[in-house]
Symmetry: C3
Subunit: 424 residues, 3 copies
């Protein structure tokens, strides 16, 4: 996994400086650089501004070129060139001289975290503004101030990308990571980086039961746009995960589907619980799981994060930087996603072919020879598999009863099939 950690770190470092938004060149540049790192061709879509997407309309495209506030002596005291968070995302253009009183309504700070720059957007309300640390505000001076917001907001396109790895069946597993946040590392460069490595690991396998699709799109309007243009693929989605916030904060947190007891929920429950993580019920607040789970689609898409949005102090501030995301957490998140997908790939119901009493495992070399000592995990996994393989109870259900890892049951099933004691 050393390589995986290195590759994920490269993605973070390369993409962190870009000013992403729900449209514009920052998203395009992000998709381009990711295309080079993904194990299959990325299909990119450009959807014109004004396109109707269910209840929404694709926004005008936004470009941010330059934005600053300067004192009377010309010194720039807040500058987008220093940090993409300084400019309220989707700010409309403005140029002029303002008094302190006139400027203040356009400034956003976090008084309780005086060193941090907040992240703010104004996608659906035409306005402009700056975000700065509360300490910067305190030292701003009396003005008047020269203000420059050199942005463009004009008909253009919304951009998103997708990568598909075909499997044995056309049933799909959907992975989704939002690409609209600017210089925030955990939210969501971490999700993008983990998703890339997941696709790489899946691509390296000889055999995939499912077809895997990764969607890299701006939040809300991006996933809705994909949903509106891919009715056939939507019908094929069997399971899915939104990947976000996977590199910083506390333990793994799985957010269930709206339904709450889909196969993805059971698979994730198993993996996350065994790693000391948490599970939460669905709520209609969060990331793109809200769109995938909406009643009109009802897709079985859960969300994997670490400490969720709004629950860690670095959330949506300049403290969500490259240091906040650690390699260990990225790698553990990657392992967890692959563990969940392994359950989806390999869970099945088997039938015990020697059901009249316990078969003699010893004579098949599957049991320790000296009686009176404790059984190993491998032996216990075989005994559990034989005890419950009635043709309808699945390995995951047995793993949960047995409190054993799914992998152990999967290995036991393979060994017992090889010994002729178990069948499908």
């Amino acid at each position: 996994m050393g390589d995986a950690a290195g590759r994920m770190r490269e993605i973070l470092e390369e993409l962190y400086p870009l000013c992403r938004s729900i449209t514009g060149d920052g998203v395009r540049a992000t998709l381009e650089r990711l295309a080079d790192r993904l194990p299959a061709a990325m299909e990119r879509s450009e959807v014109p501004s004004g396109t109707q997407v269910f209840d929404w309309t694709v926004n005008d495209e936004w470009q941010a070129r330059e934005a600053w506030i300067a004192r009377p002596d010309g010194r720039r005291v807040v500058d987008f060139a220093d940090h993409t968070l300084h400019l309220v995302n989707y700010s409309t253009p403005f140029r002029g001289r303002l008094t302190r009183q006139q400027l203040l309504p356009h400034l956003h700070t976090l008084p309780d975290q005086p060193d941090l720059i907040p992240y703010r957007t104004t996608y659906y309300h035409r306005d402009w503004g700056f975000c700065l640390s509360h300490r910067q505000l305190a030292e701003l001076g009396d003005g008047p101030f020269e203000v420059c917001v050199d942005t463009g907001l004009a008909p253009g396109h919304l951009s998103y990308g997708e990568v598909v790895l075909p499997g044995e069946t056309t049933d799909e597993v959907l992975l989704s990571a939002h690409v609209c946040h600017p210089s925030l590392a955990n939210d969501n460069l971490s999700g993008i980086a983990v998703a890339s490595e997941v696709m790489r690991a899946l691509a390296a396998r000889d055999h995939r039961r499912y077809t895997y699709r990764l969607i890299l799109a701006p939040g809300t309007i991006g996933s809705l746009t994909w949903l509106s243009r891919n009715a056939d693929a939507v019908r094929r989605v069997r399971h899915g995960l939104v990947l976000t916030g996977l590199g910083g904060g506390g333990p793994l947190v799985y957010k269930r589907t709206r339904h709450g007891a889909r196969p993805i929920d059971r698979a994730a429950a198993h993996v996350v619980r065994r790693r000391g993580g948490e599970q939460r019920d669905y709520s209609p607040y969060g990331y793109d799981e809200r769109q995938y789970n909406a009643l009109g689609f009802d897709l079985a898409v859960g969300r994997l994060s670490r400490t969720p949005h709004g629950e860690y102090p670095e959330y949506h501030t300049s403290a969500d930087d490259l240091d906040f995301v650690t390699d260990d957490q990225l790698v553990e998140s990657l392992d967890a996603v692959l563990g969940i997908l392994d359950v989806l790939e390999h869970d099945a119901a088997y039938t015990n072919l020697s059901p009249c009493g316990e078969p003699q495992l010893g004579s098949r070399g599957l049991y320790p020879t000296m009686g009176g000592t404790a059984a190993t995990e491998a032996v216990m996994a075989m005994l559990w598999t034989l005890a419950y393989s009635d043709g309808s109870t699945t390995l995951l259900q047995i793993a949960e009863r047995a409190d054993l890892p799914f992998e152990a049951l999967h290995r036991a099933a393979r060994d017992l099939c090889d010994a002729g004691l178990l069948g499908r």
Copy 2:
């Protein structure tokens, strides 16, 4: 609610001195005075002694005129005129001179609460007796004692009253409070007072989905008599609450129906839990809920109390007086009953009319304009309503999932209906 508190206090003060029992003039006087305070006509019933009521027979009517124990010097040491609890309820007449030894078997005290007079009845076993404080007993003297129990026990009638507020449907909500206990304020003048105010509040509404019926009857034999004479109304009862012990003791306690998962149970669970109250499973011991829930009727009638009978030291003693019942507790109980009835009135399943993804609340003025900040309860209630309104999930079920008050979901549904995003 200031008026409500005042009106409930007036009821308590007016009714406290009366000597109620399961029959007799004390009950009649109680019903008469309540008739003046209720928002619709009270229908009063007088059922002759000896009438067969299922497995029971209506008792002879009991009147208590005078009852005392006097020392040799003529001083009355226990006197019914001082407190209605001094006389065992339903005592048969007696007049005579008794030694201390002869008298003692007829005296009831609470050695562990030496200042309090207990409450005792002998409805179905002909006997007489006095209740007194243990301290009074200690100072009783050696006797002999002159004893007077001037009561009447002769064919007459059992009295009960009922008040009906018609609604849009003939489906009924039954409210029931027992009126047979003498000078005990919490048990059950509190229930009577809260029930009166509930009826007043319901009467003031423009619209009632249900017809509401309040039954004011003596315990057990009274409710059974009503059940035996109102087979048609019994069939129309959809939900019900026995109201008792609502002004003293600790937090709200809801006792479930025998079935345990009726709509009234779910409505009460929601309201009581959010107020820090408790829920208990049904048990066949308590007040008239035992009769309404009996297998032959199986009505969905729960019980709302504060700390239940037998669990507070003042229970069935002279300490259950006007000071034990507080206005704050009466008013909170009233609010809780109305909250439960509001759920029954307004709970319904809606259908999301814009189910393909989250609709754009912002463009309809239903969402804050500046992105990146936390959602309000009103926004969250709308998101939850949209997420789960599939035509079969009800607002109460959504409120429970969302951990939001039912009222918030009800308001959200109204706003979303107004915006064309939700329908029935």
Copy 3:
């Protein structure tokens, strides 16, 4: 129960010295002596070595005559004559002089419990060995050692016994105790002794709803052999208990059937919980419950133990001796088994014949005459029985709701039937 304790103690003392195994004269002697103590004829079976039993084959019969290790000076430092655990069970014959190095691989000790002799078997792997305390090993000396393992392993028979007490129906309750362990008191002379007393108590009854069958067989191969030869009886088994480890360790522990919610599980849950015991889910590791519950038979057989195998330090060591097993624990285990069987015998659904309100218990002498006081357990049991006897809810279900002992409900049902208030 004084007699029961004495009889169980006699069984323990008589059987403890015998060297039992899965075949051989030790098992035969054990069955012979038990036959004299059981209340009905024991049917004994002798099944030839080599008989195919599902996936297994009946072993050659094993006899142990003499086994020792002697120092160069002829002194025997480990001797089977001192303790049956010294010889690895099913050791093949050996005679020879060995160096310490050659001998060591054949010796088994417990370094963490240096005073105890472990119990080891080698049923399905031809080998020989000795078990000794770690302290004995430390003092063994340098050798060379004269080693004698005078055992026989040759075609013969596997022996088991069964006792049947016929009941009103041919539906069977199966009791099973393994008889293959040598000088270990709790595992399983305790189970054998309790099973004997259970049969004696059942035999003394006028009436048994079920036919009871006690199987005394060697573990695994013994129960499998019985299963393979009694297909008709297997079909008649409705409930069952494996009895083992019932005289030492901590509280009662009931292990559920594989299914987990059979009548035996509910009956045992009720009895064991009320005695402060524990319940565990099924696991495919343990005693003969694994065979009875195997998918091909799927019998509703739970297991009653005290602290289970492997969880007490005396387990499978010489410390599991006659002192480890106490009379109090044996007697409590006996009571619990009989309590469970009482539930199976007497649980039934009754119908309230006076369902319209609570019937007047007082007029039938079933209720205290003075109102206002608390109800007794007997009264509460009647009220609960009347409240829920709808023709389908059983007494055990009511006992669980009421949190009352099953016996109280059973007595209440009898009294209410006598009063004409309840019927089947």
